[in-house]
């Protein structure tokens, strides 16, 4: 038995908002692979929960009218990975979420939960940062949209107002059209492990594949929350596709990231692999875009 004070099951988004207004102390439970474990550990023992797991309307990957990819917040990692839309338009997101935990965790874990817990190591988060994802939040006042970079406030804290829940994650068309990306997770085990560092890069090459028209890079575990790396992006954008650019891009990473020492890995080690991961992820992204890195 879990140490749960009370459980309220929501049948719709409106129902969830009403339940959260009626029970302001209650916390949301989606798939529960974080929440239930934390109850078991005692960190959240004795909580009141609003379960949104049964709201099927919050599941699925679709295109909206403007061609943006809309991922319902309760969509499981495994369903994101097999979605034809994800596989065609932003396969790197499917690859990234396929590195979360193990198969059973990917069946229960949701992309909304992965982002709402505000954890820097979330395998989906760095890729969502790197693709300028928009978070859709629904609350008593209606629906609002926030860039994912503004959604994260600090470690474990996201911009959810009282009685508000995340209902979807949106990747606008201009964020994905023509881009190709790569995600690298560095961990001690190949399954059931948390990233020591995660790096997600994507590029848009010029038509002749000679110039980097745009490049975006984000890390998980390089700071208290997932982060973009503006120095590296500035060093790569508008530059020729060549070895020199890749080198300059990956070295510039160190100007912005600030990983810490922890029992998982030392700061110096994380900085070292951060440069190498940027190099590899950019090279792979260029290759996927049909470019060739010359001397």
């Amino acid at each position: 038995m879990y140490d749960i004070k009370a459980l309220y099951e929501a049948e719709s988004v409106e129902d969830a908002i009403r339940l959260m207004q009626e029970h302001p102390e209650a916390q949301i439970i989606a798939g529960g692979s974080d929440v239930l474990v934390q109850i078991r550990e005692g960190r959240r023992a004795g909580v009141e929960l609003v379960s949104i797991y049964g709201i099927d309307a919050m599941r699925g990957v679709t295109f909206d009218d403007e061609g943006a990819i809309r991922i319902g917040s309760l969509t499981s990692f495994s369903h994101i990975a097999v979605s034809p839309i994800i596989q065609e338009k932003i396969p790197v997101l499917g690859e990234a979420v396929s590195l979360v935990g193990g198969p059973q965790i990917r069946n229960i874990g949701t992309i909304g939960g992965n982002t709402c817990n505000g954890v820097t190591s979330a395998d989906s988060a760095s890729t969502l940062f790197a693709w300028d994802a928009i978070v859709e939040l629904t609350g008593p006042e209606g629906v609002r949209r926030l860039p994912i970079q503004e959604f994260y406030i600090k470690a474990g804290k996201v911009a959810l107002q009282p009685a508000e829940l995340q209902t979807a994650i949106i990747i606008p068309k201009k964020s994905y059209e023509g881009y190709h990306g790569n995600y690298i997770k560095y961990a001690m085990r190949e399954a059931m492990d948390i990233a020591n560092l995660g790096c997600s890069v994507n590029v848009l090459l010029s038509e002749d594949k000679q110039t980097i028209a745009d490049v975006r890079i984000a890390y998980g575990v390089a700071g208290p929350i997932p982060m973009r790396v503006p120095s590296a992006e500035a060093a790569g954008k508008g530059q020729k596709v060549c070895k020199e650019t890749v080198e300059a891009f990956s070295k510039a990473v160190l100007e912005d990231i600030h990983p810490r020492d922890s029992w998982r890995a030392a700061k110096a080690f994380r900085e070292h692999i951060a440069v190498e991961m940027a190099k590899r992820a950019l090279s792979k992204s260029i290759e996927l875009s049909g470019g060739e890195i010359r001397e």
């Binding site: 038995m1 879990y2 140490d3 749960i4 004070k5 009370a6 459980l7 099951e9 439970i29 529960g32 692979s33 239930l36 474990v37 078991r40 550990e41 379960s51 797991y53 049964g54 495994s78 935990g101 193990g102 198969p103 059973q104 965790i105 069946n107 229960i108 190949e190 399954a191 059931m192």
Partner: protein, 162 residues
Amino acid sequence: MSKQYKQIHCVINGKEREAMVDVRASLTDLLRNDFRLTSVKKGCEVGECGACNVLVNGECFNSCIYLAVWADGKEILTLEGLEGPNGEISDIQQAFIDEAAVQCGFCTPGAIMSAVEILNEGRELSDEEIRIRMSGHLCRCTGYENIFRAVKKTMLKRLGKE
């Protein structure tokens, strides 16, 4: 604290079932305590070891981190559900025996249910894919290689390739 219950209706191993569930219960609690399905093991109880793995609507879930109330309206399959009409064991269970993929047996029911999810797809998975799909189980006895062989052998047999 007042106790809170919910009446649920689900299908367990092909049979329609009703249960009055304590909202604090996990699906492991429900299956073991209410239905005596003791193939569902209590291992780590935090979703890491896979010993409590069962199929819910055809997908693998660690039942220890799945609330029992969520089972309402679902179809659940545990290892007991693999038993044939005359008590025979299934091909995948036999393969685990033949390949010595069992020693202490604690991880075995959970691992077999992951294998069942794979086999139900009815397609040939690469060795790499099988390893990834079986990666949610900790086994301290067999070294995994025999488990891998049992799954692959059964997959190929069912596809008529062996």
